[in-house]
């Protein structure tokens, strides 16, 4: 059952075709990883899905509904949220506010409510706060809820981004290099978290360069090179794909050339 | 009650008190319109110096000067401060109509005399019995000027230029335009500028094409000079005619040869002075580095002197009392001409001086006496 479908999606920047006729389906409830060399077009795929870029050609749809031309902010309403490769938090706001803002599209209160503070609005606020704290607890950030986001360390900021994306209860969560800047220990924890998120019914679409993580949790992997899909399959299949090894994986066994 | 908290009443009226009589100055010392305020102030300081040689009712006169930077909210604050904190008996200023209207409301409600030494617009003295001005009214001078220009000079085709963001200019242009029509002239082109503009090439190009006999400009001298420079540059031969806004040595300093022949009216002229005026001019030059007094300085000087005279004549420094004496002033021989307050307290100044720029100076063209009804 396909949740998100990319149908012949292409985008060109000037002369450069960053994503080239990509066909891809993300299935309900799975963890799908998108890997590929730097500059292959992975982040661009995410930007296309979230309408930050519009495809030059092709179509993207969620649950059969076309996403093309829909403004970015409505994409979140429809159930797709994401994290960014370069962290984009609300740096001068508290951790809790960051997450509350993440739940924006699940709220209803408008100006009228803001100015009257009717009970219904307070109820929504309380509920939102509760959900936000739950999300923070889930990502082990509850203790930092009053800190300013910019004062968190890199790894914490990455987790906060996930919490913010999660709190809107998306159908599908796009993670762009969530493990970047984390040490192996932290990556293990992150892996566990991603699994648990999926277990709550959220589909995961993941871009990541850490093969331990990718191979460890993904059910399927798609490989992008120069904007083209060069392979699709289970981790096992992909790992042994010649083209993938050549373009991306390398030997996997680093040996110092000069010492030991 | 009315005037219950008036300071002047707490001090017994008459000569016994040694407290100085305080006069407030309201005007801009900084900001766009600072020039008018600062020149008024020069005249005021002259007056104070002179008054303090003998004193008024045996008391010194003291000037409290405040800068409103040309802003209404500051003007309100200052007026309140001058009245309630400094306890002045009269305020001289502001040279502009707009602020005078605002300050006039307050001064009038607090029973303090206010005399503007420059405002020419409508709805000023109508505010109430404490509001005065000693300016030559455009409604009298402008028609007289147009009559001279159109009938005596025969310049029938007029280019009328208005500074659209200057209330003085907009009001004056209306008067000019009516007077032009009633004297049989016709406006061949009407153009607009803004105060502080420096480039008039666009307007002048159009005026040249309209080929007028005369350029009537209702704004201030800076823009006037620049307009004429441009006009001469493109070969327009017509001279400029305008109101007392053109009065100011800077007209010639900036305009040079281009403003030769320009005609304007004024309630004050250093030319062919009366003895009184001559004395003032000499003292002014001595005090201010050989500078010639301008209209604002002369009117500022006169404003304070008229007020002082009213205080002396009524024997009281209480504005409630001396305002009536002030309103009675008739044919006061001021340095800026003779001043009479009508029943409405609107001033009539006589004569109207028609001046022409000659060899870089304002030369008297004609004195037009004004009938006091």
């Amino acid at each position: 059952m396909s949740l998100l479908t990319l149908d012949n999606v292409t985008i060109r920047f000037g002369g450069l075709t960053a994503v080239d006729t990509v066909n891809l389906e993300v299935k309900q409830g799975e963890i799908l990883a998108l890997i590929g060399p730097n500059g292959a077009g992975k982040s661009t795929v995410f930007n296309l899905i979230t309408s930050i870029y519009q495809p030059t050609e092709g179509k993207i749809s969620l649950d059969g509904k076309a996403l093309t031309g829909i403004p970015t902010h409505k994409i979140a309403d429809m159930g797709i949220t994401r994290t960014f490769q370069t962290i984009r938090l609300f740096p001068e706001l508290s951790v809790l506010d960051n997450v509350k803002i993440g739940a924006h599209c699940r709220g209803k209160a408008g100006l009228f409510h803001a100015f009257t503070r009717l009970p219904s609005m307070k109820r929504e606020e309380a509920e939102m706060e509760e959900n936000a704290i739950k999300a923070l607890e889930f990502l082990d950030l509850a203790a930092k809820r009053e800190d300013m986001a910019k004062n968190l360390s890199y790894g914490e900021q990455r987790r906060l981004e996930i919490a913010r994306a999660l709190v809107s209860k998306p159908k599908i969560l796009l993670l762009d290099e969530p493990a970047a800047g984390m040490n192996p220990q932290e990556k293990v924890v992150l892996m566990e978290m991603i699994r648990r998120i999926r277990d709550t019914g959220i589909t995961i679409f993941l871009v990541e360069h850490d093969m331990k993580l990718v191979m460890g949790i993904s059910e399927r992997i798609a490989v992008l090179d120069y904007g083209k899909l060069i392979a699709k399959g289970t981790p096992l299949e992909v790992r042994s794909n010649k083209a993938v090894i050549e373009a991306y994986l390398g030997s996997g066994e680093f040996k110092s050339r000069i010492r030991r | 009650g009315c005037g219950a908290s008036k300071p002047a009443e707490t001090a017994p009226s008459g000569g016994e008190s040694k407290e100085p009589i305080k006069i407030g100055f309201l005007g801009a010392k900084t900001g766009d319109v600072a020039i008018y305020g600062l020149n008024t102030l020069k005249g005021l300081n002259m007056a104070i110096e002179e008054l303090n040689k003998e004193g008024v009712l045996g008391r010194k006169v003291q000037l409290v000067e405040e800068d409103n930077a040309g802003q209404k909210d500051q003007a309100i604050n200052i007026t309140n401060k001058l009245i309630s904190q400094d306890k002045v008996v009269a305020i001289v200023g502001d040279p502009t109509t707009g602020i005078t209207r605002v300050a006039g409301q307050i001064a009038n409600s607090k029973n303090t005399v206010i005399m503007s030494a420059g405002s020419t617009g409508t709805n000023v003295v109508e505010i109430g019995p404490y509001v005065f001005r000693d300016t030559l009214l455009d409604t009298i001078a402008a028609p007289a000027t147009m009559k001279y220009v159109i009938q005596d000079k025969g310049w029938k085709n007029v280019a009328l230029i208005t500074s659209k963001n200057n209330d003085y200019s907009v009001s004056l242009s209306k008067i000019f335009s009516d007077a032009i029509k009633s004297n049989g002239g016709n406006i061949v082109i009407e153009e607009f500028i803004q105060d502080k503009d420096t480039d008039f090439s666009g307007q002048i190009t159009k005026i040249k094409a309209a080929n007028p006999d005369v350029i009537v400009f209702s704004g201030y001298y800076t823009e006037g000079a620049l307009i004429m420079k441009k006009a001469r540059e493109v070969g327009i031969k017509a001279v400029m005619v305008g109101g007392d806004g053109l009065q100011g040595d800077d007209l010639m300093k900036i305009g040079g040869a281009a403003v030769e022949g320009s005609i304007s009216y004024a309630g004050f002229s250093p030319e062919q002075p009366t003895p009184n005026t001559e004395k003032f001019i000499n003292a002014f030059k001595a005090k201010y580095n050989n500078e010639l007094p301008d209209l604002f300085a002369a009117q500022g000087y006169d404003a304070l002197m008229i007020i002082a005279k009213a205080i002396k004549d009524s024997g009281s420094a209480d504005p409630v009392k001396f305002k009536d004496t002030l309103a009675q002033t008739k044919n006061y021989d001021g340095v800026s001409g003779s001043i009479t307050f009508q029943e409405s307290r609107e001033p009539i100044k006589s004569p109207v001086y028609l001046l022409e720029v000659k060899d870089g100076k304002f030369a008297l063209l004609k004195k037009v006496p004004v009938e006091v009804k």
């Binding site: 060399p37 290099e177 680093f254 | -």
Partner: protein, 235 residues
Amino acid sequence: MLKLENISVSYGSIKALHNISLEVKSGEIVALIGANGAGKSTTLRTISGLEKPANKDSKITFKDVQIQGALPHKIVEMGLSHVPEGRRVFPDMSVYENLLMGAHIRKGKPDQGDFDRVYHHFPRLKERIKQLAGTLSGGEQQMLAMGRALMARPDLLLLDEPSMGLAPMLVEEIFHIIEDINVAGTTILLVEQNAHLALEISNRAYVLETGEIVLEGLARDLAENEDIRKAYLGE
């Protein structure tokens, strides 16, 4: 070559470093590893003059000259290059201009040899010579940042997480390049999350935890250390 004694640094009320001391000898590769927020980047930023030590008795010696408190450009002129965290390429300049900026401290125009050296390590940069750096992919930007630093022909190179966000093959490549650069005579202080590879190529290493150095020693020894294996190698 480089010596840090008693360095403490705070950001407002947050203390990022407490009395750090470490040393890098000429010709070495020294690794600095530690968890997120341990203060690794802060250490590098302090060395290159971007942050000022908070305490008076702190001392940073580079080539026998005390440099604590000096302005970054002075330190750079002495032969130190710093590839900062997050690449920090000049986004509105072309790749070529970025490289030229790298050679800023050198008198006159950099010669073709410098460019060739960079292109040799990073052929991808040669392909993108005219592209604006801001539109490069993450990995391409990392290559540019390192290439840019090499243009200054530094004696000491500070690298802040050079493998972050790179494809596995590239990670290996980058580490080989680091070795090559070192072999060619540049001393290197390397901050890495990828402790595995970092320890593999370094002579010595320091472990930083919440602003303090908790362990130091030969890289080989640390790689064998049980605690380290658990905490930083994810085993």
